[in-house]
Symmetry: C2
Subunit: 410 residues, 2 copies
């Protein structure tokens, strides 16, 4: 009988969202009249930008006629999209990329999950804590995580706590790490790094020959000047970083499925004999073997994000969510809470009241004001004592929730 | 510095299609006036069925309004599509599947490539030869293939030759294999197995606790009664087989990207301690961690394949390609060639004339009649002495090519 990848069996069930659903359902049965407001929702709610809709209709019509029909596209993505990405997301920030360094995909979750395919199972891994669970789980699957310990940490993963105590600035490790995952603007805390802070990571990676896996899925929410949109704005990053981008939160593509990954030709790893190997070539081989390109219709929709109308419409959507974030942020602050994030990010990271755990505060919010958040501890041990809220809901719900919070804490 | 997955470095470049392109380009420069006919094309050319086009337009419109917008879908696919798949592809053939056993994806290449994630790197692997290169390359990447030998075979892979001598029926191995890849109707040979022949494989797998990875991407081309559309038509297959399906060749989805994989709950692998583990649970975990579902618009297009109009339109398209195959098959037979496949398959597998290698015959066809095929040796050592032709071209090109062949061989 074939032997399974036993690393999979080490993974505990992922119960966070099902546990939340159970509590919410129990509450609804007990209080059928209560109007629940969900501020924990991790998915966008605004429709696609009209420019994308029009582009998709045109692309669908092309598929209806033999003369304009498109079959297999390049595994790496169509040039029209790659050129738009480079010209709009990078060139204006002084970052020069070759077309062969950009790989269009069906989303950042696939790419952040699959990137480990090209790296050996023995590499050491550091993550910020709290963290997007895919970084951990995909490394468990490939054997880099070791064993799950009683404190909720994996034995071979180095956790870099990000809490109010250190201003959510992960401390540079005092040992060499092979791989470091950084996500900024951060999911789940909504916090950012300045250019100077990110430069310290690039310097660390260059000095230690570390590989930075930089997840910039929330880049479109950045409004402050000194927050880098791409790690390649930092000198030297092309020698040490792979960057993941997503259109999911940028333009509401969570159900459309498109993202991209930048693997500069200069970024290297090595063989056990010390020979240096370009990861660009390996990722290209991985994608050509195990992926067959992103839907043509989807790629035309993504291209439309970069049209003048597309840009305007995307900005309007992001502004809508950021205004939600502002309302929530101010509401919680006025109510006496400590709130982080929510400025260059759709996520707010709320400190629970003194002595109150993530789940206890979740229960209180649910039962007292009928508002649903996400317990921070679900994102890692350092998330204990926090609650994640998101700005992806409806404006009127945000306002109503803040009224309830104000009344509750008065 | 991070260490690469060194298995990637064992992979030779995949030069088959670039070598073909170089030869074709050189020919075009030398003979600018010649009208080339490409019969080696592996991609569909007919437009999408109108039912799919309409469904995609409707789905795009849903994405334009907040009330009907769809964000993240289930990683496993929407119920509407899974239910249509079960009701149309399996129930009429007496195969009962649960919704939780069907995983919708962005295509069979992704799934056949990624399935190895859930299996240990030490499992033994058998493939038919010639073979779809993804089975080999993905196993090289995960360390199951061993080393590439001078004869073009990988040291730890068991090759099951399929040639005219054995009627393209792979011989059941006399040793136990952990994993066996079978693709029927076969790419590249276009040949099929009868129910009785496939039953021998299921019996072998059950007796030896082997896992069959059954690729049925070309199922829609089956027209003969005794050729199974699904391996689950064979009793016992649910205990030993995973089946991969694709809409690429069925309904022209090569650029739309959708397929699905069936992992029955009964199909098991084991831990090194001998504990039995359901692969369904592991594949579900893999997909939930490293995949975020297939585009909603694409899934609506796939659903439309199963509507009454969709079925009729798909049949018309497949009939068109099969008529191309018939014309080519008869043309080559009348010209004195030995031809295999092309009956329940879009692929024809042509025996090259006595003493003529795959590449020599490729060159002769190109230079003498300006027809482009694919050298069989590119699909594996047992492909030497064959040429793959496909029926995905235009009708008039197939007819014109056969005229040239007839004149050439007269």
């Amino acid at each position: 009988m074939a032997i399974v990848n036993e690393n999979f069996l080490k993974l505990p069930g992922s119960y966070l969202f099902s546990d939340i659903a159970k509590k919410v359902n129990a509450f609804k049965i007990a209080h059928p009249e209560a109007k629940l407001i969900r501020l924990g929702i991790g998915d966008v709610t605004r429709p696609l930008p009209p420019a994308c809709i029009e582009a998709m209709h045109r692309a669908v019509d092309e598929m209806a006629h033999a003369e304009t029909f498109r079959g297999y596209g390049p595994e790496q993505g169509y040039d029209f999209l790659i050129e738009a990405i480079i010209a709009n997301d990078f060139a204006p920030r002084g970052v020069q990329l070759k077309a062969s360094e950009v790989f269009v995909s069906d989303g950042a979750k696939s790419d952040t999950g699959n990137i480990g395919d090209i790296l050996q199972g023995c590499n050491s891994v550091a993550v910020t804590d709290p963290v997007y669970p895919v970084y951990i789980d995909s490394n468990v699957m490939s054997g880099r995580a070791g064993d799950l310990q009683e404190d909720g940490r994996w034995s071979r993963i180095t956790y870099l706590p990000c809490t109010a105590e250190n201003g959510f600035i992960p401390q540079i490790p005092d040992i060499r790490m092979d791989m470091v995952y950084l996500c900024y603007p951060n999911n789940p805390t909504g916090t950012t790094l300045t250019k100077e802070q990110l430069k310290q990571w690039v310097d660390y990676a260059l000095a230690n020959d570390s590989l930075i896996l930089f997840d910039a899925a929330y880049e479109a929410f950045i409004r402050e000047d000194n927050v880098p949109h791409s790690i390649y704005e930092i000198e030297g990053a092309k020698q040490c970083a792979i960057e993941f981008r997503s259109f999911s939160k940028t333009a509401g593509f969570t159900g459309v499925r498109c993202g991209y990954t930048v693997v500069p030709e200069e970024v290297m790893a090595r063989t056990s004999n010390g020979e240096r190997v370009s990861l660009n070539r390996l990722w290209n081989r991985r994608q050509c073997t195990k992926f067959n390109g992103t839907s043509y219709v989807t790629q035309r929709a993504a291209e439309a994000i970069y049209s003048p109308e597309g840009k305007k419409q995307v900005k309007e959507t992001i502004d809508y969510y950021l205004e939600n974030a502002r309302i929530m942020r101010e509401g919680f602050i006025q109510a006496g809470f400590q709130v982080f994030g929510g400025v260059n990010s759709p996520y707010l990271w709320l400190k629970t009241p003194e002595g109150c755990t993530s789940w206890q505060f979740f229960d209180r919010l649910l039962n007292d004001v009928h508002v649903v958040g996400t317990p921070g501890v679900g994102f890692g041990p350092s998330g204990e004592g926090y609650l994640r809220l998101t700005a992806f809901g409806k404006r009127e719900d945000c306002i109503e929730a803040m009224k309830r919070i104000a009344k509750w804490t008065k």
